[in-house]
Subunit: 329 residues, 2 copies
């Protein structure tokens, strides 16, 4: 690294997406809940793959998508995640670097194959994910370089990273280093099932030191076990410096202290595949925030980045987001 | 195989496409001729890949795309091609079977990796291909099951298959078996550079027993080394039972004896990526031909299938072509 300063370091499960269009009937037959992320083992991965239609492979992973988004916006972006040294690992590494992201996590030489997520996109553009974590279980605290974290304005982590044990430890180590260096720690709750798995740990972790929290309405309601979004928002308000609550087509709320900023969604695009919407929202917000934009501006960038990624198949931007933003904001 | 009867058996180089959008400038910098197919070695593959942007992986291979098209149209489709038993090989095998194509060529256990073609799509939707043949060089006559060829109405082969030596031998063996069984042999000239490489052999092979020939204008002119398309068409007329000459947006000419059928292109779609246009034209024609349609009808099916595949990224149909054809023809 020539210049050890990053706007954001994103840490997550490094995954290649295997994307296929399916009818709703297929989800029923496979007992899958639409919009969920299911963790699957290798046997189930093979079984599901054998039943799925022809697919497209595109690099993904929630925090990887966010890192790609920050880079596409022109931000200094770093990524930490574990792939194996195999064909899909080489594809993942190529793609994230080709987006302009710094990526130098050591590849695993042995153990399980590079992770993949079988993403089933139904005609309504919603996605249902089935993730085989593979080599992601090999990520651990040793993959966290303190100098890199200390040099990152924001260290952003996906809740999904708590599924593999080593990921959780890496996560805690990175948060500690970030705070010691007076930088910010950011977390996305990832998915309401993920919140179910780790509710108490997430609450402790958030109150113990998350500065910027991303969640959709289901996730934040699940975190505080309430059906009422206002109750959840009031609960989170005192816990973090900034909370971004996404509301799909209704835009988002950005909560900071007593202040609440309402951000409109960009509804000008045809929705093809919602995969990556939350990841690119986070990318847009973090890019804006780390580059001195106001909350409202950062939210507007977030909305545009999210809209771009749902206008096509795949969870990383196809357009140059820097150009897109300059033409719109 | 429960029912050993196929409309078509397609034989070709089994390739995973690695597709990336580039500016024209990139082609210039890499000394690439737009619309060409360049054979590259492993070193060049790595070099080019490191310079390319983020990509999407989709199963391809010219004859593989044709096999997928025949299956999508509802035809009984078989494919012969060689991948290695690696991650990309598993992806190729999954995808072609998921399209409904019978595929049981033994995977290579050793030797080079599964082939990939780095396909660069410029803003004008044209594609420039850079193919690392990898495991395709392992295909040989032993991969040709005489019973399968004898049970296929048409055995269709891509000119590209002449690049690896074993492919050529497999090709000749299949043609011989097909003719002995009173079935038809079909060839696509693939690419004018491919014709340059094998002109004399192609001419011998065609006059010795190609029943249905596919070529675009550049290819057929190159075959007969003439600048005049009429001269080329008159030359091919006496050589094969049927010649389909594709002319991009100007449609195609189907030549059979003294008869010439003009077929219009389907120009109702937005052209996104021309990869696979010729492959799907062949699929449409062969499906029609092997299912008792007239030349004009077969040509119309061919035009619709080609139009579908150029309306999106990737060289295999995304829509169910059977439904598409039923709604249009």
């Amino acid at each position: 690294m020539s210049d050890l300063r990053f706007d954001t370091t994103c840490i997550g499960n490094a995954i290649v997406d295997v994307i296929s269009k399916v009818e709703d009937k297929f989800l029923e037959e496979e007992n899958l809940v639409k919009n969920s992320m299911n963790l699957i083992d290798e046997d189930r991965a093979e079984q599901l793959y054998s039943r799925m239609g022809a697919a497209v492979e595109i690099s993904g992973g929630s925090a990887g998508n966010t890192a790609a988004g920050v880079a596409s916006l022109g931000g200094r972006s770093n990524y930490i995640g574990k792939v194996k040294n195999d064909q899909l690992g080489a594809i993942f590494a190529h793609d994230i670097r080709a987006m302009g992201v710094n990526f130098d996590t050591q590849m695993a030489e042995g153990g399980p194959a590079t992770a993949r997520s079988f993403i089933l996109v139904t005609p309504d553009a919603h996605r249902t994910m089935n993730t085989y974590l593979g080599a992601c279980v090999e990520l651990g605290p040793d993959d966290i370089d303190p100098a890199v974290i200390a040099a990152s304005q924001v260290t952003y982590m996906e809740g999904y990273l708590w599924d593999p044990e080593g990921g959780k430890a890496a996560f805690r180590k990175a948060a500690e280093i970030s705070h010691e260096a007076d930088q910010r720690v950011s977390l996305t709750l990832s998915d309401s099932f993920c919140v179910d798995r780790f509710r108490d740990e997430f609450k402790d972790f958030i109150s113990g030191g998350v500065d910027i929290l991303f969640a959709n309405e289901d996730e934040i309601k699940s975190l505080y076990q309430t059906d009422d979004i206002s109750t959840a928002i009031e609960a989170v308000r005192s816990q973090v410096e900034i909370a971004c609550i996404t509301r799909s087509a209704d835009g988002s709320l950005i909560v900071e202290g007593d202040n609440t900023v309402e951000v409109a969604a960009d509804t000008t695009v045809d929705v093809i595949d919602t995969t990556g919407a939350g990841d690119l929202y986070a990318a847009g917000f973090l890019y804006g925030f780390t580059n001195g934009r106001s909350l409202a501006e950062s939210g507007a960038i977030a909305s545009l980045a999210a809209a771009e990624v749902i206008s096509h198949v795949g969870a990383r931007p196809e357009k140059d987001l820097k150009e897109l933003i300059e033409s719109r904001i």
